[in-house]
Symmetry: C2
Subunit: 305 residues, 2 copies
């Protein structure tokens, strides 16, 4: 997707973001359609710096390409003893509660919380029932998806992810023709609107159908020690995590997982054993490498960046 967007001129890989507005606890970045990730790293670093000085820092980004996984940015705040928050709106793919066509983006939100001896709490989820990536993974594996995840292009419920995409179909491109459903009915819909407004209206990126590509991004860092000593905060969070994990389990449940725990475990496992890549994605990577005359074998043999 990124390579195609660079070839199309949608991502301008050599462009750097510009500070459009700057205040004591706020700033606005114009990403100028460069690569999304370094701009969001810059935004979170600015938010952290403002939070260090004034207790809270909030930074918006517009003209911004896809920023990838939100949890990575809130971790930057967590590593500096701060609470990190990222909201990102995106092009329409989710129906409102009571609706049947896509109006809001998947509009993910992320919160990162420093703990003590326990792992940080990392919340990172779409306001839709599921992330689009999981629908795409099912499509690429030829599997169906659970009920209440998606509607087809006519607004009818379906479990076939093939009804959700139009040509050129993944892995050649993501062309959504159906709609996702909001998580938890009206509550996920409400959160999706808030993410659309903070990411889109507050930053000037645009909301709803005006959001065509990339993400409208709102990041925030809150310096814990402006409220309570960090040691007290860490021990309170640890105690809460342990209360949750040791509380009685529902029938058939062997362990209660706190937000971020599955991802930290997957990370450890993948550092040890490598990352499994679905065949369809791997053949897509081989195609792209061949088109760009990139020697994949050499890179795999010597993977340093």
């Amino acid at each position: 997707m990124y390579v195609q967007q660079i070839r199309d001129g949608a991502i301008k890989p050599k462009t750097k973001s510009r500070i459009a507005r700057n205040g004591a606890s706020t700033a606005l970045l114009d990403a100028k359609w460069g690569v999304g990730q370094p701009t969001c790293i810059r935004a979170m670093n600015m938010a952290i710096e403002k939070a260090r000085k004034n207790g809270v820092g909030s930074v918006g980004i517009y003209n911004c390409n896809h920023i990838g996984r939100l949890g990575d940015y809130v971790m930057m705040a967590v590593e500096r003893n701060m609470i990190g928050i990222v909201f990102a709106n995106s092009d329409p793919s989710v129906a409102p509660f009571g609706g049947m066509s896509r109006v809001l983006g998947a509009n993910p939100m992320s919160f990162g919380i420093p703990a003590g001896k326990e792992k940080p709490v990392i919340v990172d989820f779409a306001s839709s029932v599921t992330a689009e990536g999981k629908i795409r993974a099912a499509f690429l594996k030829g599997k169906s998806v659970p009920e209440n995840w998606i509607l087809d292009s006519e607004g009818r419920p379906t479990t076939n992810p093939g009804d959700f995409y139009g040509p050129p179909y993944p892995p050649h491109g993501v062309n959504v023709i159906g709609a996702q459903l909001p998580a938890g009915g009206h509550k996920g819909f409400a959160l999706g609107m808030i993410v659309d407004i903070l990411g889109g209206a507050l930053t000037g990126s645009g909301c709803g159908s005006d959001m065509k590509v990339g993400n409208g991004v709102f990041v925030q860092a809150i310096d814990v020690k402006r409220f309570v000593p960090i040691g007290k905060f860490r021990s309170t969070v640890d105690k809460l995590i342990r209360e949750i994990k040791t509380s009685p389990k529902a029938e058939g449940v062997t362990e209660i997982l706190v937000p971020g725990e599955p991802e930290f475990r997957a990370r450890e496992e993948r550092i040890k054993s490598g990352i499994a890549i679905p065949d369809a994605i791997w053949s897509g990577i081989i195609d792209v490498a061949a088109k760009l005359k990139v020697d994949l074998d050499r890179i795999i043999a010597n993977p340093e960046p």
Copy 2:
């Protein structure tokens, strides 16, 4: 509930809050167990003042009694062309995702967004499937509640709100012995943890089982004009609301409602026609008035405060 808490000494009605810490964009209030509502009004006014100076203001409250409806405080920010946010944790009543006993509070969150010609967007919901007040209303009316709302004291699913409460039972007191379930499964659970940590750990109020009474409160105001002109923001929000309301409706749905719309309509209707009070609550009010030698008939005839 409030009268009983005043008689028990839990609410100290003449006590005023104290500023425990104060910074450029942050503050911490010690509510000293006074009445919750005026303290939260003070906190939001401080957040608004800090946002006016620095773009964002965040204020925490500890030793705080119940603050009531969160949506009222975010409206204070909305009326000043700001985004308002309130998170409030409370005593345990919700099971974690995969659990069967209460560990987290209902932990509501509220966001208020200024619009232009449309009504403001007011999100105000518990991280549980439903607010405790709706379970209590069903109990007082002798009705059952939908499946997936509550568990009994042994962690078994039930639709009888009588399994959720112990003596002295509403309207004489709220003694939760069962557990509520989180909204949207793991997503509502994750949000509930974030509210517990921002309202409880960041403010020193306490989390989980350390949260015995009242609310741990985190409020924030964000000054829109530090990011984009308020007129542009208002028209973007209006456009989004109209796109949502005019989008195709699911089968059987006559209107898509945006967050806050049902409450604004109820408000208009009740200003016109009065507020219906369930018999059990009304007889509770008569009992309390008699005990306190309050002349209810005189107050009803002359309702000015």
